[in-house]
């Protein structure tokens, strides 16, 4: 029987979904509750994801990747977050924000030096943009990169960095021209490696959600970064950061879709078991309403997310579309998790059931990688003609199955 989603997914995608689903069910689900309680990052997770090829899923085989397409990246993100957000964050940060940035903007030499070990999972990568006083207002960043001969000397502090304490490679944004007007033109991008003197990192505890994920800070104290580690040209950092966010937001939106599905499945299961007034609560109209809203969010989210996956495959610019998908899906996952707790009643308010973790995990994505409010402003500005997506010197390469797989 033909799947009603056959216009989105081919047979290969369905096999990728089955693989990611099995992986998440076997490797993450059995221990996630305890890891979340302990606020502990599973040290086995990254090697397992690397062995499976997830860490280079949509990177061409010639750069050490699995050579799958961007839709596969979305599917894996969705299925991982169906079980827990912490695993999806790895895809967002390591693959979306860093590796795809190097793939898009890096020189061939940089791809060989950074992308190959990242795609193979031998080096873990993260993305360092946010600062204590620069979140949505990126160009307010204070980190500096001062050119001294063959090196840039980097100073600054980056916060809310996923994988900060486990990463080997840090894609850092800093100002090479603090006086630039407008300020964003003074930002450049650098690949900093953990072995460089002056790099220190630490982890946060006490986060509302994603407690099994590693999040922390990165301090750069007179770090000497070779010129050949600058990604892109001087002053191109803002554009690089925004294009990396196009990739990160895609994985965040896809993950949020997985979270909506997890809320829906948990709610259906519970609503059919729990009885009040002599019938399963699934028979009550207001419970049905909450379930129907989750169905609506899932189906709309699916179309928004995989439209972006298709646009990426085709090499089409998609900054507006991915911002819309990220805004809709993250808001929808928060609302779905809230409804899932409501359906579970008092049981949902404890960690006996997963839905409370879903709610805590869902909130972060409404904030990071561009707040809901930033995404909303973008939609209006695109529509009003106040914002245009510029052509970039380096666009994200379209998917080319023959070239990417190296198979004929």
């Amino acid at each position: 029987m033909t799947s009603p989603l056959a216009f989105l997914f081919n047979e290969e995608h369905e096999m990728v979904r089955r693989l990611a689903r099995d992986f998440a069910a076997k490797e993450i689900a059995p221990k996630i509750k305890e890891l979340d309680r302990q606020q502990r990052f599973d040290p086995e997770l990254l090697p397992k994801m690397a062995a499976q090829g997830f860490l280079g899923i949509c990177i061409p085989a010639r750069y050490g990747g699995a050579g799958m397409d961007y839709i596969s990246l979305g599917i894996v993100s969705e299925e991982l977050e169906y079980v827990d957000t912490s695993a999806r964050v790895v895809m967002s940060v390591h693959v979306g924000l860093n590796s795809l940035g190097v793939f898009q903007w890096g020189t061939e030499e940089q791809k060989q030096r950074f992308l190959v070990p990242q795609a193979q999972g031998e080096r873990i990568a993260c993305f360092c943009l946010t600062e204590p006083n620069a979140g949505s207002d990126v160009q307010a960043m204070r980190a500096t990169a001062r050119r001294e001969g063959d090196v840039y000397v980097l100073n600054g502090e980056k916060v809310w960095i996923s994988l900060a304490d486990v990463a080997d490679h840090f894609l850092v944004f800093a100002k090479t021209d603090p006086q630039a007007d407008p300020p964003y033109r003074g930002i450049s991008a650098f690949m900093v490696t953990r072995d460089m003197a002056g790099v220190t990192t630490g982890s946060y505890h006490g986060k509302l959600g994603v407690r099994a994920g590693n999040t922390g800070w990165v301090k750069l104290d007179n770090v000497e970064v070779p010129v050949e580690n600058r990604i892109g040209q001087e002053g191109e950092g803002f554009k690089i950061a925004m294009s990396c966010l196009d990739n990160g937001r895609y994985t965040v939106a896809a993950g949020a879709l997985g979270l909506i599905r997890a809320c829906l499945d948990a709610s259906i299961r519970y609503a059919q078991e729990r009885e009040t007034f002599g019938v399963p609560i699934a028979r009550h109209q207001l419970v049905k309403r909450m379930i129907s809203l989750m169905v609506q969010r899932r189906d709309i989210g699916q179309l928004l997310v995989y439209k972006v996956g298709w646009m990426k495959n085709m090499g089409l610019p998609h900054s507006r579309e991915v911002a819309l998908a990220k805004w809709f899906c993250t808001d929808a996952s928060f609302d779905s998790a809230s409804d899932a707790i409501q359906i579970h009643g008092a049981y949902g308010y404890s960690d006996e059931y997963d839905v409370e973790r879903y709610l805590r995990n869902s909130k972060g994505a409404v904030i990071y990688e561009g707040t809901r409010e930033i995404q909303q402003l973008m939609q209006a500005e695109y529509e009003l003609g106040l914002r245009k997506r510029p052509r970039l010197r380096c666009e994200l390469p379209a998917y080319d199955p023959a070239e990417w797989t190296g198979e004929t």
């Binding site: 290969e12 096999m15 089955r18 693989l19 499976q52 090829g53 699995a66 797989t405």
Partner: protein
């Protein structure tokens, strides 16, 4: 040498309760279909044995011509080729008929098939009879519940198998049909390269021309098919002012139910 893994496509165990009686009768099951979980162990062992022995691995399944998901899963794991037996060749038959069809398909793979591996049962039919029937039809040795294949040499195979209360080491001449226990290995996940290969694979379908089975009345047939009644569970909270009172109440309740 060739190593064959017998693979069945079954409903996802998580969705088994959703399968209706009508769907089961007609075979038109609407749930997600996957490789029978027990057969994953057989596929994994076939891949490992092929590596160890320099042999080739083949997966054989029986089903509708469009039911290739399980075979593709086996290919994505690393099985080298796959063959589907159209279930129409054994229409109206029983397990014995299915075993005959599979045995013929195995013979068609050539004389160099020396080892046939199977899971201990399927999660839908649960008969656990197919591999037994295949061994009978082929006239080969049968080893069940094998937990380790220790050695294949000089036309003989040495295995460890478990039985209730113990393990034994058994040696039989090749060729052999083996049902594997879950202790034998840890099935690998499909690889992305394997997924691409499986997706491109053309899986030959063997029909009545290749597998002629003379129609014979089935020795066993389904008289009736029904879903088991849903179990009703009653929860009783033992009340008591102190832990001792609650414990005493619990003991009384367990005695009354003849649990202890």
């Amino acid at each position: 040498m060739k190593v064959v893994a017998l693979i069945k496509q079954t409903p996802d165990t998580a969705e088994l309760p959703k399968v209706s009686v009508d769907e089961a009768r007609s075979g038109q099951i609407q749930t997600t279909m996957v490789i029978n979980p027990w057969d994953e162990f057989a596929a994994e062992e076939a891949i490992q044995l092929a590596d160890r022995l320099g042999a080739t691995s083949v997966a054989i399944s029986m089903g509708r011509p469009d039911q290739t998901d399980a075979l593709k899963h086996a290919l994505a794991m690393g099985i080298q080729s796959a063959v589907l037996v159209d279930e129409a060749v054994a229409a109206e038959g029983d397990e014995w008929t299915a075993a005959e069809a599979l045995a013929q398909a195995i013979r068609l793979q050539g004389d160099d098939v020396q080892i046939v591996l199977a899971g201990k049962m399927s999660v839908d039919g649960n008969s656990g009879l197919i591999h037994v029937g295949v061994a009978c039809k082929l006239g080969w040795s049968l080893l069940v519940n094998v937990t380790r294949i220790a050695e294949v040499a000089d036309g003989r195979i040495t295995v460890e198998r478990s039985f209730e209360g113990g393990q034994e080491v058994v040696q039989v001449p090749l060729p052999v049909v083996i049902s594997v226990a879950k202790e034998i290995n840890e099935p690998r996940y499909p690889s992305f390269m394997g997924i691409r290969k499986a997706n491109r694979a053309q899986i030959p379908v063997l029909g009545k021309d290749e597998i002629p089975i003379s129609p014979a009345p089935p020795r066993a047939r389904w008289e009736n098919l029904r879903k088991p009644e849903q179990r009703t569970v009653q929860v009783k909270i033992i009340q008591g002012a102190t832990p001792q009172e609650k414990a005493a109440g619990l003991v009384d309740a367990l005695l009354a139910e003849k649990v202890i």
